[in-house]
């Protein structure tokens, strides 16, 4: 059975009531893994509190940090500081330089682009080629598709169609997430898969983008963050006790 993941529940972590409602709605809709973006200075207590909320709703909580650096240098600095603290690192690319640096850096998991400012969506052939050599995924948020209307939605659909085609050509994985700010913008995985057909993403690929691809990111990073991890393919299997 598929394990569906929503790596972007955009709820303020201070508003615990709303967050609890959103997490339980996600669980009800069939998601078994939810990612909540956290501020870089989040405390261990806050993480534990979120973990409790998610385990109460029978979902797996994923810590995520959203970086929005202005320069490639700032991105490298943020990655150095934060990569080992969070399970998923996403970069909102607001300039071409940042987009290129994020695409080639193996520490970046998700490449995210602004939904409303289409001139800042830098996912082109060059970006996809860099991303295909690294480990980054293209993130597609569905909330703007629901909230935008008229020409803005038409333009977004048209842009997403191009980006998904490029990602497919260069074998860059796509991760579909909700990007929902409240529970009214949450939809079930099969509904998102149906919506993804609007930008010519076949249903099996869309379901993969909602399950296998995001789950693979989380599992890979959890392994790397585990104290037993040494290098790719090398891990501690047993420690000598009593020394």
């Amino acid at each position: 059975m598929r394990r569906f993941a929503d790596l972007h529940l955009r709820s303020p972590i201070r508003n615990l009531d709303q967050l609890e409602r959103m997490v339980s709605k996600s669980s009800e809709l069939g998601y078994r893994l939810v990612g909540i973006p956290l501020p870089p200075n989040v405390t261990r207590d806050e993480i534990n509190q979120l973990q409790r909320i998610c385990s109460g709703a029978k979902t797996d909580f994923v810590t995520r940090v959203k970086l929005a650096p202005k320069t490639p240098r700032e991105l490298l600095h943020d990655l150095r500081l934060l990569r080992r603290k969070f399970e998923v690192v996403s970069v909102t690319c607001t300039s071409k330089g940042v987009a290129r640096q994020a695409a080639k850096d193996r520490r970046v998991d998700l490449l995210s682009f602004p939904a409303t400012d289409l001139r800042k969506r830098f996912f082109d052939h060059a970006e996809a080629e860099l991303a295909s050599r690294a480990l980054s995924c293209l993130e597609v948020e569905m909330a703007p598709l629901l909230s935008l209307t008229g020409f803005s939605r038409i333009r977004l659909l048209s842009r997403l169609r191009i980006e998904v085609a490029i990602a497919k050509r260069f074998k860059v994985p796509v991760a579909i997430s909700s990007g929902a700010t409240d529970e009214h913008l949450l939809r079930g995985p099969h509904d998102y898969a149906a919506l993804a057909t609007l930008f010519d993403m076949p249903q099996p690929s869309a379901l993969r983008a909602l399950s296998e691809d995001p789950v693979a990111i989380v599992e890979r990073n959890r392994e790397k963050l585990s104290p037993d991890y040494i290098a790719p393919g090398i891990r501690v299997v047993r420690r000598k006790t009593g020394v």
Partner: protein, 108 residues
């Protein structure tokens, strides 16, 4: 010889702040199909409301099998009804009403 038209039944749950009736639900679905796929797409959908339970806010709609993904995308895109925030969730899809009631609608 023309083949029999295959259909799919969708069980829907309407989540709205105000009470809605079956007419509102099917109108909202029609409008969403028209908005996303135009008149050509809507003409392929063969949409109709089979039943609506206003107490529990459950609806069953029928569409052609070819248009299932189109209808599902349209239903997912609905965010308001009568200018009030509304969500319509698909509870299940089946080829027969009996199977749909069995798997998607709560009994009692």
């Amino acid at each position: 010889m023309s083949r029999r038209v295959r259909r799919r039944y969708l069980a829907l749950k309407v989540v709205s702040e105000q009470p809605v009736d079956g007419r509102d639900v099917i109108d909202a679905v029609w409008k969403a199909v028209l908005r996303l796929f135009g008149e050509y797409g809507a003409s392929q959908a063969s949409l109709s409301l089979i039943e609506y339970d206003s107490q529990k806010s459950y609806a069953i709609v029928r569409c052609s099998r070819r248009a299932l993904e189109m209808v599902r995308a349209s239903v997912a895109s609905i965010t308001e009804m009568n200018e009030r925030p509304t969500v319509i969730r698909v509870l299940g899809v089946s080829g027969t009403l009996r199977a749909l009631r069995k798997k998607a609608l709560p009994t009692g």
